[in-house]
């Protein structure tokens, strides 16, 4: 079981807004999943390197040359709010 504080903290990290009912529901569900994953405690991993990826690929580089990219209109075509040149967001700085 996660505490209300725990749930509110991860909701904040995930930029999610939850009402009281959701907090209670997710506390139980996430707590149940975390109780289950504690099964990993019984595995000895003291000499095991983490495996972030199955493919043994190193960094992949490309030539530093300019290539065509999405035109501006296409890039903006799904924007919830745009002036045709930029993505528009609410004001983030107050006037002095």
């Amino acid at each position: 079981m996660l505490t209300t504080q725990d749930v509110l903290k991860v909701a904040e990290l995930g930029r999610l807004k939850l009402d009281d009912e959701e907090v209670a529901k997710f506390a139980g569900q996430l707590g149940g999943i975390l109780d289950y994953v504690a099964v990993l405690d019984e595995v000895d991993v003291s000499n095991v390197a983490p495996m972030a990826h199955v493919a043994d690929v190193a960094n992949v580089f490309r030539e530093d040359v300019v290539v065509a990219s999405l035109p501006r209109a296409a890039s903006l075509s799904n924007a919830p709010k745009t002036d045709g040149k930029f993505f528009l967001v609410p004001q983030i700085l107050e006037h002095a």
Binding site: D6, G14, R15, I33, V39, V43, P50, P80, I92
Partner: protein, 488 residues
């Protein structure tokens, strides 16, 4: 035999000999969709006009003696998390319900080059998170064999579409079993390629170290043909392996001599439905009768796979889904007091519960104080799981197992308890953690009339062997039956 019950190779033969036109084939499948998809709910969008135009162009080129692609005139549907330029790609989420990609996924480009006919986009669990296709914000898919049962997930729409005769081919994506499990529930063939075999460019990311696009078909050779059409290196996905496209269709009919089939003792334990176990054991007998050697193996860390998977997948998801901010694309809330509140309101309105759960679980596993205990620990156990397979594949060519512990469950049966749904992924998840290719092929029916699948796994990049082994069984067992006969 009508067009919508034909296999891929039968259709290709008829198209090549011009005994049937691509327009006729396309129209037959569109008619089937029109008649039946109101009940099944496999598709979120149908692109009838562009499909018929594309088919007419294929017919024109064939008549003029021009070259056509390897899938010329074959209809296909794509899971709706695969970007299609100018065609909505929703991920079955309110967040992306109006999203129209400005570019094609690599696989969509390859299918156009192969002259496949795009019929529409298939339903899924939101952002491919789920095992039943019930977590879709935009539609409800049922199992074509029984409308009270789940089609499986997350690629449930793709599997149901092939099963119901809405398309001979489909693409899905598989992060923890999301191709193989719905294939088994719906009684079709579903293949998850080796990680890196198929470019993920244009696949909406869920868990990037696990996601892989793969084919659905009515038979093994159809899956082989589609894999050949979509595999191969793409520089836009830096995890795509620098290897040429596969050529599995050329050899799929050739049986393997000296085949060694591994059976893992950890796969036959409590919780496995007796009918599923019996079907898998019968399949093993079929291999034995074909001269294969059956080898007992052990995968000692497989019992940790679900815990490892949900920690890694959710951690990656919490990072990948940070991009949905209501700024560049996707849903933006209308009521908020500042920028951060806009993010929060947009995400809370746009995402369903399962997506929120996974974002929060991932954020927890990655957060200060818990990272070592959860995420890093999971990465270490992931290596042990991979090492189990490396050791097993020293002695066997393929591993045979169930796909899911049970046939399709009833709609609503699992939704109240997310953990219960997660636990059913036990047989499929390890292949994603280890990066292996895996296939689900029809292996029987339950007494209640639901399909049962057989899973075969192979070592990385052994798709050719995997498909040939699958075909050996299919040849004895018979092709996938249709969930209903055409003409109805």
């Amino acid at each position: 035999m009508s067009l919508v019950t034909s296999t891929t190779s039968e259709l290709l033969g008829q198209l090549a000999s011009r005994s049937v036109s691509a327009v006729e084939v396309t129209q037959s499948y569109l008619d089937a969709i029109q008649r039946r998809d109101g009940q099944v709910g496999a598709l979120l969008s149908v692109t009838a006009d562009s499909a018929l135009a594309q088919a007419a162009e294929v017919d024109r080129r064939r008549a003029a003696g021009e070259a056509v692609g390897a899938l010329a005139g074959l209809p296909i549907v794509l899971k709706d998390n695969i970007c299609t330029q100018g065609i909505k790609t929703t991920c079955a989420s309110k967040m992306l319900k109006d999203f129209v990609p400005p570019y094609d996924a690599h696989v969509a480009t390859r299918l156009k080059q192969a002259d496949a006919i795009l019929l529409g986009k298939a339903n899924l669990d939101e952002f491919a998170m789920g095992s039943s296709s019930e977590n879709s914000a935009l539609g409800k898919t049922v199992n074509p064999w029984s409308f009270e049962h789940a089609a499986g997930g997350s690629s449930g729409g793709s599997a149901a579409a092939v099963s119901a005769g809405f398309a001979p081919l489909a693409l899905g994506s598989d992060t923890g079993g999301s191709i193989r499990q719905p294939a088994s529930f719906c009684g079709v063939v579903g293949l998850k390629p080796t990680y890196g075999r198929v470019s993920r460019f244009g696949l909406v990311a869920y868990a990037s170290s696990l996601d892989q696009i793969g084919p659905f078909a009515r038979d093994v050779s159809g899956a082989a043909l589609l894999l050949d059409a979509i595999s191969g290196h793409d520089r836009r996905d830096s995890t795509s392996v620098d290897a040429p496209p596969t050529l599995t269709a050329a050899t799929v009919e050739q049986p393997l001599s000296g085949l060694r089939v591994g059976i893992a003792r950890e796969h036959f334990v409590a919780g496995l439905d007796p009918e599923v176990e019996a079907a898998v054991r019968r399949a093993v007998e079929v291999y034995k009768s074909l001269g294969a050697t059956i080898v007992d193996i052990s995968l000692p860390h497989s019992k940790y796979a679900i815990a490892v998977y949900y920690l890694i997948a959710c951690s990656e998801a919490s990072s990948n889904l940070a991009r949905y901010d209501g700024v560049h694309y996707g849903h933006r809330a209308t009521e908020f007091s500042n920028l951060v509140e806009m993010y929060k309101a947009s995400r809370s309105e746009g995402f369903g519960d399962e997506v929120k759960r996974r974002i929060m679980l991932g954020a927890y596993a990655l957060s200060a104080g818990y990272y070592d205990a959860y995420y890093l620990k999971a990465l270490k156990v992931r290596r042990l799981i991979r090492q189990d397979f490396d050791a097993a594949f020293q002695n066997v060519d393929v591993i045979a197992s169930p796909v899911n512990p049970t046939p399709a469950f009833k709609l609503g049966e699992m939704t109240a308890d997310p953990l219960k749904m997660y636990l059913a992924d036990i047989y499929t998840i390890s292949a994603n953690l280890a990066g292996l290719p895996g296939i689900s092929i029809p292996a029987g029916m339950s007494a209640s009339g639901l399909p049962i699948g057989l899973q075969l796994l192979a070592a990385p990049f052994e798709e050719e062997k995997l498909l040939r082994a699958a075909r050996m069984f299919e040849r004895e067992h018979g092709p996938a039956p249709m969930s209903w006969k055409s003409g109805v």
